[in-house]
C-alpha cells in the first residue's frame, strides 16, 4: 500500500485543479437555462394565465398608474416578485403569445430591496 501512492502523487502535482477561479473566468452556460424573466409588453394580451399557473403566487396583474401609461396600456399586466419566484418556467410554457421568456442571467443578488420586484412598464414610479 505504501509505495503505490508515489506515482499518484506526481500525477496530482502536475495536473490542473478541478475548480475555476470564478469571477475572473467562468464556464459557458448552456441554452435553455432558467434565469431572469424578459417581458415584452407589445405582445401581451392580458389573459392572466401566467398569474393563475404560478405555484407560489409570485405574479400579480396590475394596472398602470401614471397618465401616459394609462392611455397606452389600458388592461392589466403582470408584476413579478423575484423573491417568491422558484424559476420553474411554467409561465413561459403557458403564455399563448410568447411574451414572457426566461434568459440566462443569474446575477440577481442585490443590496437594494426595490430591485426584487419587476414592473411591466418601462417608465413608472419605482421601476427601472
Amino acid at each position: 500500500m505504501g509505495w503505490r501512492i508515489i506515482p499518484k502523487l506526481f500525477q496530482n502535482l502536475l495536473s490542473k485543479p478541478m475548480t475555476v477561479k470564478f469571477p475572473h473566468e467562468s464556464i459557458p452556460i448552456p441554452d435553455g437555462y432558467r434565469g431572469e424573466h424578459a417581458y415584452e409588453i407589445e405582445k401581451c394580451i392580458s389573459c392572466g394565465l401566467c398569474a393563475k399557473i404560478c405555484p407560489n403566487r409570485a405574479i400579480e396583474m396590475i394596472e398602470a398608474t401614471t397618465r401616459e401609461n394609462k392611455e397606452k396600456y389600458q388592461k392589466q399586466y403582470p408584476k413579478i416578485d423575484l423573491g417568491k419566484c422558484c424559476f420553474c418556467g411554467l409561465c413561459q410554457d403557458i403564455c399563448p403569445k410568447d411574451a414572457l421568456k426566461l434568459t440566462k442571467n443569474f446575477f440577481l443578488s442585490t443590496f437594494n430591496k426595490s430591485t426584487t420586484i419587476k414592473y411591466p412598464f418601462k417608465t413608472e414610479d419605482g421601476a427601472k
Binding site: E60, D81, K84
Partner: protein, 170 residues
C-alpha cells in the same frame, strides 16, 4: 403483455369465503378489500401466515361529508409479489381502532404514532403514542379537513404591514 390474474383471484376467493369481505382486483398485483373494525385483527393474523410480512404504510383519509375516517393498511408479500390493501371505516367523533403492533412489531407502531398525531386516532394496544414531529401543539390535529390552516398561518406568521405579503391575505 397481460399476465393472467390466477394468483390474485385465488387469494381473493379465500378471503371472501373465510371472512365475507367485499373486494376487487384493480390490475395485476393490486387487491383492495373493505371490512369492519371487529374483524381486522383476525384478518391480519390470517394474512400474515399466508406470506404478507412487509407492512408498507398505514394511512388515514378524512371524508368530511360522510363523517367518517377511512384507515388503510398496505401490505406487500415478497414471495407472492402482491400488494393487498385493507380498508376500515370509523366514525369521526372519538375515533379509535385496534392496534396491529402485536403482529408487525415496531414497523406498525411508528406509523400509528404518526397517524395519532396528525389525525387524532386512538390505537388501542399501542403503548408509545408520544408526539413525533410537532412540539407544544395545542390546537386540533392539523390534517383534518375542518382545521383552517390558512387562518392559523395568517395570524401567526404573516405581517399585514408588509406590502409584499398583501397578496396572501386575499
Amino acid at each position: 403483455m397481460k399476465s393472467d390474474l390466477k394468483n390474485e383471484e385465488k387469494l381473493l376467493k379465500e378471503l371472501v369465503s373465510n371472512y365475507n369481505v367485499k373486494g376487487r382486483i384493480q390490475r395485476e398485483r393490486r387487491i383492495w378489500i373493505n371490512t369492519d373494525k371487529e374483524k381486522l385483527i383476525s384478518i391480519c393474523k390470517f394474512v400474515k401466515e399466508k406470506g404478507f410480512d412487509h407492512l408498507s404504510a398505514i394511512s388515514v383519509t378524512d371524508w368530511l361529508k360522510e363523517g367518517e375516517y377511512e384507515i388503510t393498511y398496505h401490505l406487500w408479500s415478497y414471495k407472492r409479489k402482491i400488494l393487498l390493501t385493507i380498508k376500515i371505516r370509523v366514525s369521526r367523533k372519538n375515533p379509535s381502532a385496534p392496534s396491529v403492533s402485536a403482529i408487525w412489531d415496531r414497523n406498525a407502531q411508528i406509523h400509528e404514532r404518526e397517524m395519532h398525531e396528525m389525525f387524532g386516532v386512538e390505537f388501542k394496544g399501542n403503548d408509545d403514542l408520544a408526539p413525533l414531529f410537532l412540539e407544544n401543539w395545542q390546537n386540533s390535529p392539523p390534517f383534518r379537513k375542518d382545521f383552517d390552516w390558512r387562518e392559523y398561518v395568517k395570524k401567526e406568521c404573516y405581517n399585514k404591514d408588509n406590502e409584499r405579503e398583501i397578496v396572501y391575505h386575499e
